[in-house]
């Protein structure tokens, strides 16, 4: 393996979908002198652990906008990368079990439509047509957006990685960032386990470990990593088109391109911290809820359960833009939907590096927002 160079135009910390997606966006514009550092293997973090959901049904204008634009990017991604990411727009079907939730969905779909997303309220009869095997006892309504969908996560990461390498980006695995040196308003040096490099830009794309990285320059981030567990069943012939979300329990389930059912459910008692271990409690809770909703799955077998961390901020929206230092860009905090909004968040970050007007305004996402007297609106539609 060749030694690191003494200097790079930009150093990106983290080679998940954000880090590699950003490097790809930069390289595509000819900005190729980029070093991407990954402490473990690719894809180790959330990019290698998520359920592949891509939706625009969010509850704040910022998240809706990020997701809506990102979905456009997902549609053309396989072609652009020359790598199959298997994006399938089978829709997301939210199920409500109380009048209050139905009312919320009515309000939310209206907000989503106001922001260019074709979601709509559905009644149980229509839900049954959209997903015939659902047991809809207790379901009083729902919402559906046909352009939401599912992507195969590791394929996206591999697609970026391959293109980055081909365009001359330096991607290093098993290389740890040990510290950073600052001078005035800038981060000037990054010390790694393979040597120290000087640079113009440093991007913190370390997901659940972003606070650890930020602390190296004395910056405190409000992000908390929170474990979310997930499981996958044996592969079956296709029978389920949309992603199903049960609002009451936070259960989500979809059938991926390989035919496997991928499902998760939240644990309200989960403590903060990076914890990738599996628990029996999750498997039982998920099975109970999933079999209740899709009884036909009771004889379908669980093949594997695993876990990842949602990188959670107080308002469930990402942190972007510079923080602490003028050239220290944040690219994290997407609270369980980082993968699905990465096309926009990486594009906005690339715009900052390239000195262009960002594709979308970065201001609402800056770290400063948490210091304002009026706390920003929290997105209520985090699931799983």
């Amino acid at each position: 393996m060749t030694a690191l160079k003494a200097r790079y135009d930009a150093v990106v910390i983290g080679a998940g979908v954000n880090g590699l997606g950003l490097a790809y966006q930069l390289a595509r514009e000819g900005y190729t002198d980029v070093l991407v550092l990954e402490r473990r293997y690719i894809p180790y973090g959330a990019s290698g652990r998520n359920g592949g959901g891509v939706r625009a049904q969010w509850s704040t204008p910022e998240n809706i906008a990020l997701a809506r634009e990102s979905i456009r990017a997902f549609r053309g991604m396989s072609r652009e990368l020359g790598f199959n990411v298997w994006f399938r727009q089978g829709g997301y079907l939210f199920l409500a079990r109380t009048p209050a939730h139905v009312e919320a969905l009515r309000r939310l779909t209206r907000l989503q439509r106001d922001h260019g997303v074709r979601s709509r309220v559905v009644d149980p009869a229509e839900a049954s047509i959209l997903a015939p095997d659902l047991r809809l006892d207790g379901v009083v309504g729902g919402s559906y957006c046909p352009t939401d969908g599912i992507v195969f996560p590791w394929s996206v990461v591999f697609g970026y990685w391959r293109r980055c390498r081909a365009m001359g980006v330096d991607v290093r695995t098993f290389t740890e960032v040990l510290g950073m040196e600052t001078r005035g308003d800038r981060v000037v040096r990054v010390e790694t386990s393979r040597g120290t490099v000087e640079t113009e830009w440093v991007v913190n794309a370390a997901g659940g470990w972003s606070p650890e990285v930020a602390r190296m320059v004395g910056l405190e981030l409000p992000n908390q990593p929170v474990r979310h567990e997930i499981l996958v069943t044996e592969a079956l012939k296709p029978f389920l088109d949309p992603m199903i979300v049960d609002m009451a329990s936070g259960l989500y389930a979809n059938q991926d391109m390989r035919g496997e059912i991928v499902a998760g459910i939240g644990n309200p008692g989960e403590r903060a911290g990076v914890d990738f271990s599996s628990s029996l409690g999750f498997a039982k809770r998920l099975a109970r809820n999933l079999v209740s909703l899709l009884p036909v799955l009771s004889e379908v077998r669980v093949m594997r359960q695993w876990a990842g961390a949602y990188d959670v901020t107080p308002d469930n929206k990402p942190i972007l833009g510079p923080a602490g230092y003028g050239n220290f860009l944040q690219l994290h905090g997407a609270s369980g939907h980082g993968f699905m909004v990465h096309p926009m968040t990486t594009r906005m970050t690339a715009d900052l590096v390239l000195g262009r007007k960002p594709a979308m305004d970065v201001e609402p996402y800056r770290l400063e927002r948490f210091r304002r007297p009026m706390p920003p609106e929290e997105d209520a539609l985090v699931i799983g």
């Binding site: 020359g82 199959n84 399938r88 591999f158 044996e234 592969a235 012939k237 029996l280 004889e299 379908v300």
Partner: protein, 437 residues
């Protein structure tokens, strides 16, 4: 090629039953597995593989390799080698049309001769991409969803023994017998239909003991039961969670085991062979062939080639010949197996071809790594075994308090070592298992 003489006459297989394969009746016996019954009837192709639609059939015969998945009574992905035949059972091919034997999509294997990397294919022309996705999605997935839409949930049974032993091979039974004799409540979890593990295949007097393997296994199992041990068969350990809970899958449902002492004795598994067409029906692992012979009483074929060397290969040859299978040759390696829907010959590196209808691969064993890793045990690389094994002290204690490991899973090299390690671990676990309560 159906032949009743594939069944070994003296084997106790219970009463005859009739099962149906893709609608056609097939003779079976109530103590035979579906896989064995079909094999004895000359049906070797049980399914087609996921990408290339290659013919597949029995290989490991232990429920581990997923090469024998069939649809049984409307339920998908059933391991034919583990489910017992029942009167009127409906068995159907999966992922194949019209049948596993004559699958139209087998053409995929012939077309993509140089391989099929789905990452950068099916991207052009753009207009066809939706069609590609439509087809690929339908070719993915194995069985269809179950016929019955009714939910079938089974209670989870909570057990609280003093000591739980994973594996009822030589080491596990020895450990369980010691712990139970010391007065502890012992639960033993065994994936197989009978206790004994590899002992069941050692049909000659075992070195250092006065009996053959099955007799030794019977004695050990008896001593466990006499001492009050609870021996569960067809119940593999399924997970060891970080909080110490162990789960196991019994025929009636999940067991959730809370025990202060866990003894890992779940042994080793065969290493699959590497040669061209190593996946052809008729290629069996050593354990697979021995299980078909001893557990199911079915000869794997008429003419066998054994690929391997040393005591493992000798054992396999001996058992095959004792069962009336002609062993054409024992060779250290082969270049390829050949055949259309099943093994018909092997090709050696020299180019010579030997006709046969079964290939038994004795390519060595490897300790089962999963439970040891899940329990968080510190590991060391064992050069002789070619795999990581748990670090254990003289009492079989691993680096994790409350977890012991013994026998082949810990790298034991022979039966004597396995028995001795089992006894020590059992004794040690019994001391600790009581103290923790």
């Amino acid at each position: 090629m159906a032949s009743d003489d594939a069944r070994i006459p003296e084997h106790d297989r219970g009463r005859p039953v009739t099962l149906f394969l893709d609608g056609r009746p097939c003779r079976a016996f109530e103590r035979e597995t579906v896989g064995a019954a079909l094999h004895a009837s000359g049906v070797r192709v049980l399914m087609r593989s996921i990408k290339y639609h290659r013919p597949r059939g029995l290989f490991c015969v232990q429920g581990e390799c997923a090469s024998c998945l069939v649809r049984v009574d409307g339920k998908p992905n059933v391991r034919a080698c583990m489910v017992r035949a029942e009167e009127g059972m409906r068995v159907e091919s999966q992922n194949a049309f019209p049948s596993a034997r004559r699958d139209l999509l087998g053409v995929v294997d012939k077309v993509y001769r140089k391989g099929l990397d789905v990452h950068d294919r099916f991207l052009r022309p753009r207009l066809l991409v939706p069609a590609y996705h439509f087809v690929i999605r339908r070719m993915a997935g194995f069985g269809r969803i179950p016929d019955s839409p009714r939910a079938r949930t089974r209670p989870i049974r909570l057990l609280r023994p003093d000591v739980v032993v994973a594996g009822a091979g030589a080491a596990g039974l020895a450990a369980a017998a010691e712990a139970a004799s010391a007065g502890r409540r012992v639960l033993v979890l065994e994936a197989g239909a009978e206790p004994g593990g590899f002992l069941l295949h050692l049909r000659r007097p075992v070195a250092g003991e006065d009996a053959d393997g099955p007799t030794l296994a019977r004695r050990l199992a008896e001593s466990v039961r006499k001492a009050g041990g609870d021996l569960r068969l067809a119940t593999p350990a399924v997970a060891r969670y970080p909080d110490g809970v162990l789960t196991a899958l019994a025929p009636q449902g999940l067991l959730e085991v809370h025990a202060p002492a866990l003894v890992l004795a779940n042994g080793s598994q065969d290493v699959p062979p590497l040669f061209l067409n190593n996946d052809l029906p008729g290629v069996l692992s050593a354990r697979g062939a021995l299980t078909l012979l001893h557990r199911d009483g079915v000869r794997p074929g008429r003419v066998a080639i054994v690929v391997g060397a040393g005591p493992d290969a000798d054992l396999v040859r001996g058992e095959l010949e004792a069962a009336g299978v002609r062993v054409e040759a024992v060779v250290p390696e082969i270049a390829a197996a050949e055949g259309g829907s099943g093994v018909e010959a092997v090709r050696l590196a020299s180019g010579a071809r030997l006709a046969c209808d079964v290939v038994v691969a004795a390519a060595g064993q490897s300790p089962r790594p999963e439970l040891v890793q899940q329990a968080g045990c510190a590991l060391r690389w064992d050069e002789a075994v070619g795999a990581p094994v748990p670090v254990v002290d003289a009492e079989g204690r691993t680096s994790v308090p409350g977890v012991w490991a013994c026998g082949e899973v810990a790298g034991a090299k022979d039966l004597r070592a396995a028995l001795e390690e089992g006894r020590r671990a059992g004794r040690s676990a019994a001391e600790a298992g009581g103290a923790a309560r």
